[in-house]
Structure formats: structure tokens, C-alpha cells
């Protein structure tokens, strides 16, 4: 690595510019805009909290619902991914790299492909219904498999799993076999070993896995539309609606900022709880 500060700055410049230009800039713009209002399809640059009041009054339920469903997805995906990453690191032996490679491959499988795969599985003419009829368990195809929150959870968890596996595997790789053998030698049973040795060293990985899955799930609006049905309107759908159909950018900005704030708060809370419970005593 070059040591020269000028060279280092030059190296960091493109990424920094992209980050400022395409992420931080628009983000600040949306935050500012969330305090503006729209009258007669024109932006008026005043300062008002009415958008946030509306978030609370009109979309409160939707934000809470989104939060709950994203939390559920993030928790399930992180837990499953932890088990899978643990298997790859400590149990799979020489099969480990292959499993990891397969995980990576499924990430390239694409987002819509997975959505349609789940529609194929859960639909009225889908694999599950056909199978159940074949087995004689049901006479008629059931329609409630698809178009409900459960289908959203299944689809998004499936899609997000590899995103969670990678950071978890990364942090598990830092734990040597000798550490686990030493813990066992000192009298630690498997559960104690997990709590005292493995999890504390996995905190960054857990946090990143949770964050990735939670943020993506909370912001998604395609999956709920395609497999969620009418009862599953997540906040992302309203953001999209307000932006594109109602042309009320300030309102949708406020909604987006609210979701972001709740999400960030959740992640910070998780971090604090982990630090406390996994602290060495």
C-alpha cells in the first residue's frame, strides 16, 4: 500500500465522490424535502412537520407492519445463516468451500427469479397445491398459500439468506480451532462455548448480517406487490405510490426517513443489547 498521503487521497477520491454524489447528497436532499410540502402539484419550500404527522396518522400501521415483517425476516435469515455459516466453518470439513461457493452462486440467481419461483411453488396451480392434491390431502387447490405476509417472509428470507451468510462466515473464520479446543479443554460445553467464545467474536458479522437483511426487507416494495396480496402493503409500496402516482415527494420522503430512523434505531439497539449480553464477565 502506498504511504504517501497525496496518493492515498487520490486512491480514495473516486469512491468518496460517488458516495457523496449519489448517496449522501440525495439522502440529505430527501431529509430536507421531507419538511417541505406540495400544493397544487408544486413544491413549496417551507418548513412543516405535517408530512411526519401524516406518517403517524395515515401510515403508522403500515410502518409498524413493515417494521414487524422486516424484523421477522432479518431474525430468521440471520439465525438460519448463522447455522449455515457455522456448519461451513466448523463441521463441513473439506466440503466447506463448495458450500460457500454454492451460497455465492445463489446470490447471482437474481431477485425476480426467486419471486417467481415462490409464486410457482405457492400458487393455485403451483407445486405445493398440485402435490397436496396428488397426495389426496386436499381436494381443491387452496389460494391462501400465496398473497399473504407469509409468502413475503418466505420469499425475502430466501433471497436475503446469502447476504447474511457471507459476513457471518467471515467473522467465524477468525475463530481458530485451537480456541474451541481450548474452551472445551477448560470445561466448556457446546452451548457455553457458543455464548462465551463464538458469539462475542461474531458480533460484527451478526450486526452486518442483520443490518443487510433488515434494511433490504424494510425497503422492499416489489416482493409485497408480487406475492404479498392486498393485505400486505408495506411502507415501501406507499413511498413508491406517493413518489410516482401522487407526485407527493415530500410525503414519501418523510415516510422513507421514518422507516430509516426506525431501522437505524433497531440496529443500534441490537448492537447495545449484544454488547451487554456478550460482555466477558
Amino acid at each position: 500500500m502506498p504511504r504517501n498521503p497525496v496518493v492515498l487521497t487520490l486512491f480514495a477520491l473516486p469512491a468518496t465522490l460517488i458516495f457523496l454524489l449519489f448517496f449522501l447528497g440525495p439522502f440529505i436532499y430527501f431529509v430536507v424535502m421531507s419538511f417541505w410540502s406540495v400544493s397544487l402539484f408544486r413544491l413549496s419550500r417551507d418548513f412543516t412537520l405535517v408530512n411526519y404527522l401524516d406518517v403517524y396518522r395515515e401510515y403508522g400501521y403500515s410502518v409498524a407492519f413493515t417494521f414487524a415483517i422486516a424484523l421477522l425476516i432479518a431474525v430468521i435469515a440471520t439465525l438460519l445463516a448463522f447455522g449455515f455459516a457455522y456448519l461451513i466453518r466448523f463441521r463441513a470439513g473439506r466440503l466447506g468451500p463448495t458450500l460457500l461457493f454454492v451460497t455465492l452462486i445463489t446470490m447471482f440467481g437474481g431477485y425476480l427469479v426467486k419471486i417467481y419461483a415462490w409464486r410457482t411453488i405457492l400458487g393455485t396451480t403451483g407445486i405445493l397445491n398440485t402435490g397436496l392434491i396428488e397426495l389426496g390431502i386436499i381436494d381443491e387447490p387452496v389460494s391462501w398459500l400465496l398473497y399473504n405476509p407469509g409468502a413475503v417472509v418466505a420469499t425475502l428470507t430466501h433471497f436475503l439468506l446469502p447476504f447474511a451468510v457471507l459476513p457471518l462466515y467471515g467473522s467465524l473464520r477468525g475463530i481458530s480451532d485451537a480456541q474451541l479446543a481450548a474452551a472445551r479443554d477448560l470445561g466448556a460445553r457446546p452451548l457455553r462455548m457458543l455464548i462465551d467464545i463464538v458469539l462475542p467474536q461474531c458480533q460484527p458479522g451478526i450486526l452486518v448480517a442483520f443490518m443487510l437483511t433488515f434494511f433490504i426487507a424494510a425497503g422492499d416494495y416489489v416482493t409485497p406487490r408480487l406475492v404479498g396480496g392486498t393485505a400486505t402493503a408495506m411502507a415501501g409500496n406507499f413511498v413508491e405510490n406517493q413518489f410516482i402516482t401522487a407526485l407527493n415527494a415530500p410525503q414519501s420522503s418523510a415516510l422513507a426517513v421514518a422507516i430509516l430512523a426506525v431501522s437505524a434505531g433497531t440496529v443500534l439497539l441490537l448492537r447495545a443489547v449484544m454488547r451487554r449480553t456478550l460482555a466477558v464477565r
Binding site: 485451537a178 474451541l180 479446543a181 472445551r184 479443554d185
Partner: protein
């Protein structure tokens, strides 16, 4: 090596006491690969015991079977009269210092050392006194609140040692404890280990591929080769009376001279012969460099060979000579007759020899 062999603890506990560790027919195979062949071994209480052998000979596998980390394919491990063969490491009265140490990076030195005692649910006050005591023993007082990534290799090694010792194991197992340290530190840590072993009077079993280290530390050595224990004994015994050609060259330096025994007389390929009872067969004669004599120093009745002096090096405590024999072999010789060196020049024809009481005659297999 001769010097360190003399400093090793020579006292051997009475053999009529039951051994602390008793291995019987202990075997480990991985598929068709036999890592440890059926092996019997007794380790007495108070021993500083070395498992010595070249890389890949099965030392670690054997140590892990004693500690309970590797399940034997056959045979038994008995510690203190109890058959522990089917017990995991958490239930055995052993603790291990691992190669690479395996310190917990998220814990301080003190927390690392206290971990096992806390798991055992000892009262906090006792944990504190025992940790303090052991930290004093391994001299880590200044570093107790540091984390492992802020430690040097030697310091990390002492933490690993303390973490195992604080559990007061009946047997402490160490896998290549000093291999990761540089030479100077290794010498210092050897002394440290001897001091710790003396002061707590426990039983240590360690694995090493370094014969000098085995000599320097152990009062008892098992030499392993290709999964088998080829000789077991005190360091003086193994150095002075190696049972095979492999051991004689693996432990210390040795001249190995091929020859043949015929009708109670051995004749060397390089010339020279002596009376030796035994079957007619190919043999090798093993003589240590310091047991050889040169030129005018040859004792009465010595076996003698003639060769060309190829090299002489003054090494401080002794002079090292290399003599090339006519048949293509050579002899290494250490002499403390410093005056002799000035009377000899390279390329001189010289006589080397030894008395039969310092040689070992081994069947050449």
C-alpha cells in the same frame, strides 16, 4: 547437547509405583493410514516427558488421544488408575497448551486465565487468588489487563501455559510449546518451563520435533518414528545407547559406519575390525563424535581407521574435525586437545579411532 543432557532432571520415580498415565495398545488410523501404531507407554507422576520425533510421525495425534481430543481406534488411556478412553477432554484431569495457543482474543490475559475456573463455578475469591498466584508464577503481572493481540510470542505462550496450569491438571499436555518462538526466546522459555515444572512439581508431557529441546527439558523421552515408539528412556540412555540407526542420527550427531559381522568378528567397509558376538549379518557401528580420538591420542586397543583430514574448525569448547575415508565415507570428530590442532594440517593423512566400549553395534535394517 551433552551439556544439556547432564542438566536434565535425572531422578526417576520408583518404577514399582503405578504410572500416572498408562497407555495400552493405543492406536489411531485415518482410513487406511495408521497415524499411531499400537503403542504402550507409562508416564510416572512428576515426569517431564517428551514425545520426540520428526514431523508427521504421529506425536500430536498421540498427545490429543491422551487429552481426549482424538478418539483412539483401539486401545486404552488410563490416568491415575481410571480408564478415561471414552471421556471427552472436559472430563479428564488433563489440560493442554495448544500449538498456536488458541487464546481468546476478546478476553484480557486475566480473563483468559480465569475462564476455566469460572466454568467450574469456583467462588470468586478463590478464582482471584488462584489466577493471581499463577500470573505471578509465569510473570505476567504487568500484562494482566492486556488482550492477546497486544502480546509478543513469548508472552502469549506464557498466557496459554498459565491458562492450563491454573486448572491444576494431573497431567499438563503441551504441543510443540516453543516451536513458534525464535531461537533466543526458545532457550529462555526452556529455562522458564524447567523452573515452572520444578516449582509446581506436576507432570508435563510435551511434543517436539527438536531433539535439543527434548534433551534440555525432559527427564524421559519417547522417540517416535512413523507412528511407533522406537525407544523410550532417559536422555542419557537414548543419547548413549540408541537402539536404532534412525535414533542415533536423529538424536545428536553420530558417525554411522557400515560393516559386516562374520564368525563373531565385525569388519567395517572403511577398514578396521573388532570382536563382537552375534549373528552373521550386515551391521552399522555408531560412534558419537566426542567419543572418537585422533592421531596420537588413540587409546590402547582402539578400532582404527585411516583417512584424509578434510577440515578442522575451532568451535570454542572443542575442535570439530572432518576426516574423509578412502571408501567415500567420512568421520566427524570432536576433540578438546587444542594443541593437537596446530600439529595437524588439512590434507594430512591421519588415524582416527575409538574403543569398543563407546560404540554401538546395530543390525543394519
Amino acid at each position: 547437547m551433552t551439556a544439556s543432557a547432564a542438566t536434565a532432571v535425572a531422578s526417576r520415580p520408583q518404577a514399582d509405583r503405578p504410572p500416572l498415565v498408562r497407555l495400552r495398545g493405543l492406536t489411531k488410523s485415518y482410513g487406511s493410514m495408521v497415524a499411531v501404531k499400537p503403542l504402550d507407554l507409562d508416564i510416572q507422576s512428576g515426569d517431564f516427558y517428551a514425545l520426540l520425533g520428526p514431523s508427521g510421525c504421529g506425536k500430536t495425534t498421540l498427545l490429543r488421544m491422551i487429552g481426549g481430543f482424538t478418539e483412539p481406534t483401539a486401545g486404552t488411556v488410563e490416568i491415575d488408575g481410571v480408564d478415561v478412553t471414552r471421556m471427552g477432554p472436559e472430563r479428564r484431569p488433563t489440560n493442554m497448551v495448544f500449538q498456536g495457543y488458541g487464546l481468546f482474543p476478546h478476553m484480557t490475559v486475566r480473563q483468559n486465565i480465569a475462564y476455566g475456573l469460572k466454568l467450574a463455578k469456583l467462588p470468586a475469591a478463590e478464582v482471584e487468588t488462584r489466577v493471581k498466584e499463577i500470573i505471578g508464577l509465569v510473570r505476567l503481572e504487568q500484562l494482566a489487563e492486556r488482550r492477546p493481540d497486544g502480546l509478543s510470542g513469548g508472552q502469549a505462550q506464557r498466557v496459554a501455559l498459565a491458562r492450563a496450569l491454573v486448572m491444576r491438571p494431573r497431567v499438563l499436555l503441551l504441543d510443540e510449546p516453543l516451536a513458534a518462538l525464535d531461537l533466543q526466546l526458545r532457550k529462555a522459555m526452556q529455562e522458564e518451563l524447567r523452573r515452572i515444572h520444578r516449582s509446581i512439581g506436576g507432570t508435563f508431557v510435551f511434543v517436539t520435533h527438536d531433539q535439543g529441546e527434548a534433551m534440555a527439558l525432559a527427564n524421559r523421552i519417547a522417540v517416535m518414528d512413523a507412528g511407533a515408539c522406537v525407544q523410550e528412556g532417559g536422555p542419557e540412555e537414548i543419547y548413549g545407547a540408541p537402539r536404532t540407526r534412525f535414533i542415533s542420527t536423529f538424536i545428536g550427531e553420530a558417525n554411522v559406519l557400515p560393516g559386516r559381522r562374520q564368525g563373531g568378528r565385525v569388519t567395517l567397509e572403511a577398514g578396521g575390525s573388532f570382536a563382537d558376538a552375534g549373528a552373521d549379518e550386515a551391521v552399522v557401528v555408531v560412534v558419537r563424535p566426542e567419543a572418537m580420538a585422533l592421531g596420537g591420542n588413540l587409546p590402547q586397543g582402539a578400532v582404527k581407521l585411516t583417512g584424509r583430514l578434510a577440515d578442522s574448525v575451532f568451535l570454542g569448547p572443542y575442535v570439530r574435525y572432518r576426516v574423509e575415508l578412502p571408501g567415500g565415507g567420512e568421520i566427524i570428530l570432536h576433540s578438546q586437545d587444542f594443541a593437537l590442532r596446530h600439529r595437524l594440517a588439512v590434507d594430512d593423512t591421519v588415524e582416527v579411532g575409538w574403543t569398543t566400549d563407546v560404540q554401538r553395534v546395530l543390525a543394519d535394517r
